[in-house]
């Protein structure tokens, strides 16, 4: 009875996911096909692993995979730490007005697409940008952001965190809101300091949430935010060694031919690798605490 009722509650979402995700998933085999329109996508001839060759035989494959992974690891680690920190500190802001102000303002960057963010960045660090002009006039140094390779890993990390921290910290903030006040009251009676409460109560109780957020990002570790890497560095070729990631490489290579088989092949590779990594992490997370697992 209990199971039936719970299953009924889950049914609408189950069906929606089935229709909009599982049925189209049959298209995964496109990665192994040589598509032509006379036969249609389902009856086109098989291509074996031919579609995979394009990416794996390219000189840049290693570089872009490395870039993708490094950026993602940094984004996950630094991004999570900062978002949790913000959530915890926001919880310490007692003035309701200020809290509202901060949270609203932190959300601003999230509302603009990467194209607009690229413009914002350009209006600050472009040749006539606010920061560049300031550097020239006040400090008398001329700094060319768009041709200096080493600044970009830092810039992209900062911009990515700047854009997402308002969004992610809301999750952790809501998580803290869900923690029973009793714990803190009891701790206060025992004379615990604020810092001790955060370390011994807030963080441990947030752990399942942090863990699931991390696991979900880990599954996407071979993917990257296309807009960030494509628009923000404004496609300056000299920066490619540090800004090119799998998604931008594939886009640039295939924009001419628009071959759906080859892009499907790279997508499948990204998914399978992500799947393997996430299975491993899920297993490890489960070892620490059963609650931390996704499934």
């Amino acid at each position: 009875m209990k199971h039936l009722q719970l299953s009924i509650l889950a049914l609408p979402a189950f069906l929606l996911i089935f229709i909009f995700s599982y049925i189209p998933m049959s298209g995964i085999f496109i990665a192994f096909k040589n598509i032509n329109f006379v036969d249609g996508i389902f009856h086109s001839p098989w291509a074996g692993f031919d579609n995979f060759k394009f990416f794996f035989t390219s000189d840049d494959a290693w570089l872009v995979v490395r870039n993708t992974l490094l950026y993602n690891v940094v984004f996950i680690v630094v991004g999570t730490i900062i978002a949790v920190l913000f959530a915890v500190l926001l919880n310490e802001v007692l003035s309701v007005r200020l809290l509202k102000f901060y949270q609203t303002v932190f959300f601003f960057p999230y509302f603009f697409s990467w194209v607009i963010v690229a413009f914002m960045a350009y209006s600050f660090i472009g040749p006539y940008g606010i920061v560049t002009t300031f550097l020239e006039k006040q400090i008398h140094t001329s700094f060319d952001f768009y041709t200096t390779t080493w600044v970009w890993p830092i810039l992209l990390t900062l911009i990515n965190i700047w854009k997402g921290v308002g969004y992610v910290s809301i999750i952790f903030y809501a998580g803290i809101m869900g923690i029973s006040q009793e714990y803190f009251e009891a701790a206060a009676i025992d004379g615990a300091t604020k810092f001790q409460m955060i370390r011994k109560i807030t963080i441990p109780l947030l752990m399942p949430l942090i863990s699931i957020m991390t696991l979900l990002s880990v599954g996407k570790i071979f993917y990257s935010d296309f807009g960030l890497f494509y628009f923000v560095p404004r496609e300056v070729g000299q920066l490619y060694p540090v800004t090119q990631v799998i998604d931008t490489y594939v886009y640039r290579a295939l924009k001419v031919s628009g071959d759906i088989g080859m892009s499907a092949a790279v997508g499948l590779f990204q998914s399978v690798m992500g799947f393997i990594v996430v299975l491993a992490s899920n297993y490890i997370a489960g070892k620490v605490d059963e609650e931390n697992k996704i499934f």
């Binding site: 199971h3 496109i30 901060y102 413009f119 903030y173």
Partner: protein
């Protein structure tokens, strides 16, 4: 003593004020661009305040106000209706998944999670939606595909997992059905989580242009974000292939930088105001302890 207590507080506020500036300044900068004359930008570089105010960009963008108004209505309907339904749908499955005593918990979690990693790509989805479900050029095609988002479901599940099992058990002892527990106990208790997911879902619907790009040909069903996206994408395309294009289609005919920024501000504006509305649901006191007592 007093100083030691207030110093950390001051540090917190300093950090937040600095970050607030980092969030506000770029916004001001694009607002300034939207009110600037193109040639002023060329002559004076980018500035936080326009050299002189110029409304040409807004006149250009709002040339046909009915078009924008209609797009706004589409966006609003899709976002509000979609969010309400999707939160209900996702709360249902999330609750079941959060119950450690539910028989299919693991399988169903996997079922949900798997779709985050693997997808069949664009063409199969397109065939399904346009040739079989016949949803092309309907408002539903903008809503249905995002009703059950795996990421949000798993997030909501983690929020619900924090509700102590003892509450649910005591309700079951009283003979309440799962539906009643869900509606009367879980939903109120999970309010911070629900508010979070509702906010995210609203943003997802509001910011989406992808579905309209693929499935909407009818101008009357075009949402605001797609209008913005189309404008940006046209510029991106024309500028990239301007030399391959037949003569006469010159970059000169593109909307100015100011017009693009004006459009971005019009598209994002309504959502900038929506956040405080959600915020009241994040308040303290809606905790497990409070309800129990």
């Amino acid at each position: 003593m007093k100083f030691r207590k207030s110093l950390p507080k001051m540090l917190i506020h300093m950090l937040f004020i600095l970050f607030s500036l980092a969030c506000i300044l770029p916004l001001i900068s694009i607002i300034s661009i939207s009110f600037s004359n193109e040639s002023d930008i060329l002559d004076h570089g980018y500035r936080l305040f326009p050299v002189k105010f110029d409304f040409t960009a807004y006149v250009y963008v709002l040339y046909r106000p009915l078009q924008i108004l209609n797009a706004f209505k589409v966006s609003l309907f899709v976002s509000v209706f979609g969010t309400i339904v999707s939160v209900l749908v996702m709360a249902g499955i999330s609750y079941s998944l959060s119950r450690s005593d539910y028989k299919f918990k693991n399988q169903l979690s996997f079922y949900v999670f798997f779709t985050m990693l693997f997808n069949g790509g664009l063409v199969p989805s397109y065939i399904l939606i346009s040739n079989y479900l016949h949803l092309k050029n309907t408002v539903w095609v903008l809503i249905l595909p995002y009703l059950a988002m795996p990421w949000f479901i798993l997030l909501l599940r983690s929020f619900m997992q924090k509700i102590p099992h003892s509450i649910i058990e005591s309700c079951m002892m009283d003979g309440a059905s799962e539906f009643r527990i869900f509606a009367q106990i879980i939903l109120p208790l999970a309010k911070p989580g629900l508010a979070t997911v509702a906010l995210f879902s609203l943003l997802q619907y509001w910011n989406d242009w992808w579905l309209s790009l693929l499935y909407i040909d009818n101008e009357k069903l075009v949402p605001l974000q797609y209008m913005l996206y189309r404008m940006m994408n046209n510029i991106e395309f024309l500028t990239h292939s301007s030399n391959a294009l037949p003569s006469g289609v010159t970059a000169a005919r593109l909307p100015s930088e100011s017009a693009r920024m004006a459009m971005a501000i019009l598209a994002a504006g309504p959502m900038l105001a929506v956040f405080p509305f959600f915020q009241k649901h994040f308040v303290r006191g809606l905790t497990v302890g409070a309800v129990k007592g």
